[in-house]
């Protein structure tokens, strides 16, 4: 089962590259939704069966795979934008940087003092790589919606790390994290709405005009 989980994690890493490399927002949102669904399945592969686990899996898949992508899709449609144009850093350099960070995170994870049980699995490097990818998306993209996507990818990275922690995560912690994510998406949705209303564009670099002086 563990090897199956590792293969899923490889899939997660590949999806990271999709979100870095594509310019189409809808495609990027769907990729992250798939990543969320995969992450929803992962706890089921790692831990023995329990109803608690089933509940968690269903909620995670529902929220990450359907609710948030739907919300984002609606935002994209209402703002009438289709693709990310002129990112701060081009797609090829971002992809190269993403590859570099993924390699670095494998190197870094190898030197972390970990329990022998976790030593040989890909959880920690995949988690760090996903986190880094989220950061890259956050920093290199201009549109506010892309930044929400970056935020989601980052959260996914944190989630992978959380998988290691306990046999079954306490349901409150998990619910708290999901609620956080949902609220965060809502807040970002409102912010997006306000930005597009104020500047008639979703370009966050226009926010410099809010600076004092």
């Amino acid at each position: 089962m563990i090897s199956l989980a590792d293969q899923f994690l490889v899939l997660v890493l590949l999806i990271n590259f999709i979100s870095l490399g594509t310019s189409r927002l809808i495609f990027s949102i769907r990729a992250v939704a798939v990543q969320g669904v995969i992450l929803g399945i992962l706890p089921g592969l790692l831990h023995p069966f329990s109803w608690h686990l089933v509940a968690i899996t269903i909620v995670i898949i529902a929220v990450k795979g359907f609710v948030i992508p739907l919300l984002l899709g609606r935002a994209v449609r209402s703002a009438e934008i289709k693709r990310e144009v002129e990112p701060f850093l081009g797609y090829v350099p971002t992809l190269l940087l993403g590859a570099l960070f993924t390699a670095l995170s494998f190197g870094f994870a190898g030197s972390l003092p970990m329990l022998p049980v976790h030593q040989n699995y890909m959880f920690v490097p995949a988690s760090i790589a996903t986190l880094m990818t989220g950061f890259l998306v956050l920093t290199t993209r201009r549109k506010a919606i892309s930044q929400v996507i970056g935020y989601l990818v980052m959260e996914n990275g944190i989630f992978i790390f959380g998988l290691l922690l306990a046999e079954a995560m306490p349901v409150m912690v998990e619910a708290g994290a999901l609620l956080d994510l949902l609220v965060g998406t809502f807040v970002m949705g409102i912010v997006i709405n306000q930005i597009s209303r104020e500047f008639s564009s979703l370009d966050t670099s226009l926010l410099t005009s809010l600076k004092e002086e």
Binding site: F88, F108, S111, F135, L138, T139, T140, R141, R142, Q147, T204, S205, L207, T208, S209, L210, K211
Partner: protein, 666 residues
Amino acid sequence: MYSVLQGACDPALVALCAALVIGSAGIPGLFLQNKPGSGQIFSAIATILAAFAGVPASLLLLFSRTTTTYVLEWGLPFGPCELVIDPLSAFFLIPVFLVSAAGSLFAVGYWPAAVHRTTEPWLTFFYGLLASSMAILLVARNGVFFIMVWEVMALSAYFLLVTEHDREDVRRAGIVYLIATHAGTAALVVYFSLLAAATGSFLIPAAGSLSALAPHTTLIALAAFIGFGAKAGIMPLHLWLPSAHANAPSHVSALMSGVMLKMGLYGIFRTLTCFHDPPLVWGIILTLSGLTSALLGITFAVAQRDLKRLLACSSIENIGIITTGLGVALMGMSSNLPVLMYLGMAGALIHILNHSFFKPLLFLGSGAIIHAVGTREMNQMGGLGKGMPRVALLVLIGSVAICGIPPLNGFVGEFLLYLSFFLQFKADTLVYLVFLAPVLALVGGLAVIAFTKLYSSVFLGTPRSPGAAHPHEAGWTMLVPMAFFGALCLLIGVVPQLVLRLVTPAVASFFPQLSLDTIPAEYGALLGKLSLAAVLLLTVAAVVALLWRWRLGKAPVSSTSTWGCGYLRGTARMQYGGSSFSELAVSVFDGIMRQRVERPTLSGLFPGESSCSDQPTETLLERVVAPLFSLAGLSFAFLRRLQHGQMHVYMVYIFATLFILMLWAH
């Protein structure tokens, strides 16, 4: 009577509850915005009632010489949070309660909610918070808790100060104050950390428990001097003081000058109680810095054109006199001269009490004047004495008191200081202290010039501007607090032996090992004689006044303009102004303080229209500190480039930090 009251309830608890009531008195006003004024009146009533409970409680604690300790369960990892009321705290609590109550009543007339609908609720709220935080500060004994309360005090004073934040000069004064107070707080953090390192706990050490010979003691004392001195306004840490006091609403200036500056002094007092063997040099430094503050502060005051700036600068002078007293007491302590120590300390404490009576009186008076005339510029006033005789009389009482002229209270504290100087002349030790007497006398003389200028250019002569022509007398809510302080000034001046009894327990808490039984009795008797002289002086003054009125009634009265200079058709602009009055006195101190006069060049027999103006300039601020700040601003300008508003680059900052931390862990 003590036992009956003490049986009924614990005075320390009453004082603490009074402080909390004052702090929450402004809260209802925040929610009663649709009924303007009701919150303000509620706050005034609550504050006055709290003061009626708090002042007797503090007096009881002071006279019974008890120390009450409470421990606050606060659950923070800085050791127990002790609240201790000892005689020294109780002594400082008295002005906190009195001034805050009087000011909250004054505010009803001075800052009416009907006129200032948006600012009044917050002004009332922060006013209560400032007063309450000062009261709590006096009982806080845990260093961390002390700094927390200190910050509440400093910030609520800031919000009070920027009440009229739509004006540019008010915002500027606020920024200067904020920088100064936080520089002071930074020094206090160093002070409490060093103290904690020396004693092993964050509690302020008990009286006399530390030795000045231990390592780092000089550093501790220096940090305390900078931190508390910045709040008290001891030179050269006074730079924030004049503009802050001038730009705050007047009852706030009264509270800030009358009480908040004393919190800095309280800190210095409290720090010094911890040491049983202060070296002589501490006393010398305090004395010298005190005398410098007194002399330069009053020089600055003489040069001012702004009514409230003048009062603010005179606060620097009075703080200087108090610091001098403290320094002399410290010298007495390290030279083992109990009489010198007692006289210096009693003089300092009495002057603290006095200054917290006459300075609020004067600031409230300035509020009444500004309320009537609409300007702070003394050269625009004049002749107000006819329109507002009651305010004029009360300001006269305050002015005479602040100049240290008998039979009012300002004389008593300075008298003890003079006494301490001259006693050393007779003794063999510390003879050079006698040279301080002429300096103090010079300060007193300059104070007379400053307040003569104030009183004469505001109340005497003829009106210099249309605004001053038809002043209206202040309402009773403004007059009653002023009259209250005026009565206190007169009371202390006439029966100084009572106030000596008031400060003796506080002095004893300063140095518990010293037996203070015979000395207070001796000087109490001396002040009794002073009291007789004061009564005599008052009688003579009354007789002269009656004779004068009688003579006026008999002789024919003709009215003409004051200072008409003998011209037949003098105008208001030809009379002496405040600036011309003080020009000579200021010119003596040319290097430090300058009245920059811009004179017109006149030529010919009939010169055209021209104008003359003067601007008091302070050398230290304008030549040293302001250039330093602009230099710092230039050299750190590159940091502003980091804050550019590009969201994604902010993300890069976070990213880079995370990355560096990961590499570090690696």
